[in-house]
């Protein structure tokens, strides 16, 4: 087991329960609010938002379209109508600001499923991670864009757990719960953070939007790190933290600018010495105060999965 049985314990003691959970709470609120907005129509007849995450219309004027599904449609040989192109451009601009994979942490309904699987996995102490490469998702992304070219139809949407779950909740789920169950079991027993951090081509697509986005988690206070490892243990994409936290000596700036950081902010929550905060990507310089060249480096033993 890692040093702390419950990551975030120290942060709660140091900063109080709310402070140590505020990003997680806001994230759940965001996920649930978005879901509820879509459900107000079918449940109560309040049609503020129609459609689903693939494409929707808000208040009768704001079109939003998932650029990933639109790209699949393009790849299959269809030139889409203006409404969906505008919708996709709006969505793209939004994520260019807040971070591509903020979609994964703040919007995607499957995150609720995989976070639950992760929570249970930790509770049950299930280890034995399979060594699936995190790059697999990019191969899969490639496949989801080549298959439509070959077959002339949108193929990934036949099984995409994200649209299956979201559409299912709004329009009726049919047998799609089987796919969600498979994702849950995969994450629980097979690979730690298996779906979202290794396989999901949608996450891979949004990560590409996140290569230059504005909002970023920063470790400006990294000198205060006490090597408790809590941030590694809660982060779904641990590999993004390491160099930023530890390699100030090597001239690595304090901005976590790896595209796969989901901007979930959980590292901010669980860090007792408040190393992290949400900020912008600019000013990524190594400042004098943060580079503690004399600090012993405890990070050599960190296992990055």
């Amino acid at each position: 087991m890692s040093p702390n049985a419950h990551p975030g314990q120290e942060a709660i003691i140091a900063n109080g329960w709310f402070q140590a959970n505020r990003w997680l709470i806001s994230r759940r609120l965001s996920q649930i609010t978005i879901l509820v907005l879509f459900l107000l129509g079918p449940w109560f007849g309040w049609w503020l938002v129609k459609g689903n995450l693939s494409s929707s219309l808000t208040l009768g004027i704001l079109p939003l379209t998932d650029p990933f599904v639109l790209l699949q449609s393009l790849a299959s040989g269809h030139w889409p109508e203006t409404a969906s192109i505008i919708g996709a451009l709006i969505v793209i601009s939004f994520y260019l600001i807040v971070g591509g994979r903020a979609y994964c942490a703040w919007v995607c309904p499957v995150n609720l499923v995989t976070d639950a699987a992760f929570w249970l996995r930790e509770r049950l102490g299930l280890g034995g991670a399979s060594s699936l490469s995190r790059k697999t998702r990019y191969w899969l992304l490639g496949a989801t864009l080549i298959m439509p070219v070959v077959s002339g139809q949108i193929i990934w949407e036949l099984v995409n757990p994200v649209s299956m779950l979201h559409r299912g909740l709004i329009f009726g789920i049919g047998f799609a719960w089987v796919i969600l169950l498979a994702v849950f079991i995969f994450d629980l027993f097979v690979t730690r953070r298996g779906w979202c951090s290794h396989l999901c081509p949608m996450g891979a697509f949004y990560s590409l939007l996140g290569t230059h986005n504005l909002v970023r988690v920063r470790a400006d206070n990294r000198a205060a790190c006490n090597d408790c490892l809590d941030c590694y243990r809660v982060c779904p994409e641990q590999q993004v933290i390491r160099t930023v936290l530890k390699d100030a000596e090597k001239g690595i700036g304090p901005v976590i600018d790896a595209p796969n950081c989901t901007n979930c902010g959980r590292c901010i929550d669980v860090c007792a010495p408040n190393v992290f905060h949400m900020g912008l990507r600019f000013n990524n310089k190594v400042s004098v105060e943060t580079s503690h060249l004399d600090r012993p480096n405890h990070s050599s033993g960190v296992e990055v999965l």
Partner: protein, 255 residues
């Protein structure tokens, strides 16, 4: 390297499975109809984003989105005429709502929609074919007397009545499904099928003589000239007016 070949084989396996599944999911059951203005099925599957905006804007709850487990490409809109037919809204809200172009915006007159084609396929059970006057399909048809007409035919059973045979005219049938919905029989005798199943198509090179003649103003084949009929003596043929003429005093005149 080992890592990436592993990922690659996982992805290749998943793609193969998906490829097979997608072939299967291209098929559409014969009683599932696409909304008005839907592109031809293959193009539709490439265009539709599975958003359900058409479903939401249909005031009659005609349309539904296929769930996984239904035998229809998952997430795509469809309707079944026997359950809820299309009411052929003048403003075609489903087409207006579609953000992707899967429902073609160039459809502005609902009478031009071709969601399918009605076929009165069970003549043994249709009441009108028994000589009765049910006429229900004919009466509910929004294009009454155009898409369905009643053709008269002698009733050979009674020997003295007429039968009124509901006859679908594909020029006008939009495939809305009101006839199938309304057919009084336990199982409808008239049904809507996708055009791909029931619509015939004449070869492109076929020309109907009478149409060409009308367009052109006169016959397109060699100008009228005396036909060289091999007629018995005493008979002749007047091409313009009378046709066959039996010449007077002829021994071969009328029997």
């Amino acid at each position: 390297m080992k890592d990436s070949s592993r990922s690659l084989s996982i992805v290749a396996l998943m793609s193969l499975g998906l490829g097979v599944y997608s072939k299967q999911s291209k098929s559409l059951p014969a009683n599932a109809l696409r909304p008005p203005g839907a592109l031809e099925e293959q193009d539709f599957l490439s265009a539709c984003l599975r958003c359900g905006l058409c479903v939401r804007d249909c005031p009659f709850d005609t349309l539904g989105l296929a769930k996984s487990g239904d035998d229809i490409n998952v997430g795509t809109p469809y309707f079944k005429a026997r359950e809820v037919p299309c009411e052929m809204c003048d403003d075609i809200p489903c087409v207006v709502a579609c953000p992707s172009g899967a429902l073609d915006k160039s459809l502005t007159n609902i009478d031009d929609a071709r969601m399918g084609l009605a076929v009165l396929f069970d003549q043994e059970n249709c009441l009108n074919y028994q000589g009765l006057r049910c006429d229900v399909c004919y009466r509910v048809c929004p294009a009454i007397n155009q898409a369905i007409t009643l053709e008269h035919r002698p009733n050979e059973r009674t020997g003295k009545h007429a039968m009124f045979i509901p006859t679908v005219n594909s020029d006008h049938c939009t495939g809305c499904g009101k006839c199938e919905y309304a057919c009084v029989l336990e199982e409808a005798a008239i049904k809507i099928f996708p055009l791909t199943l029931v619509a015939g198509k004449a070869d492109d090179h076929y020309r109907m003589g009478w149409e060409e003649k009308q367009q052109h103003g006169s016959s397109l084949v060699a100008p009228d000239q005396q036909h060289l009929y091999n007629l018995p003596s005493g008979q002749s043929y007047d091409y313009d007016k009378e046709g066959l003429i039996f010449e007077e005093n002829s021994s071969g005149a009328a029997q």
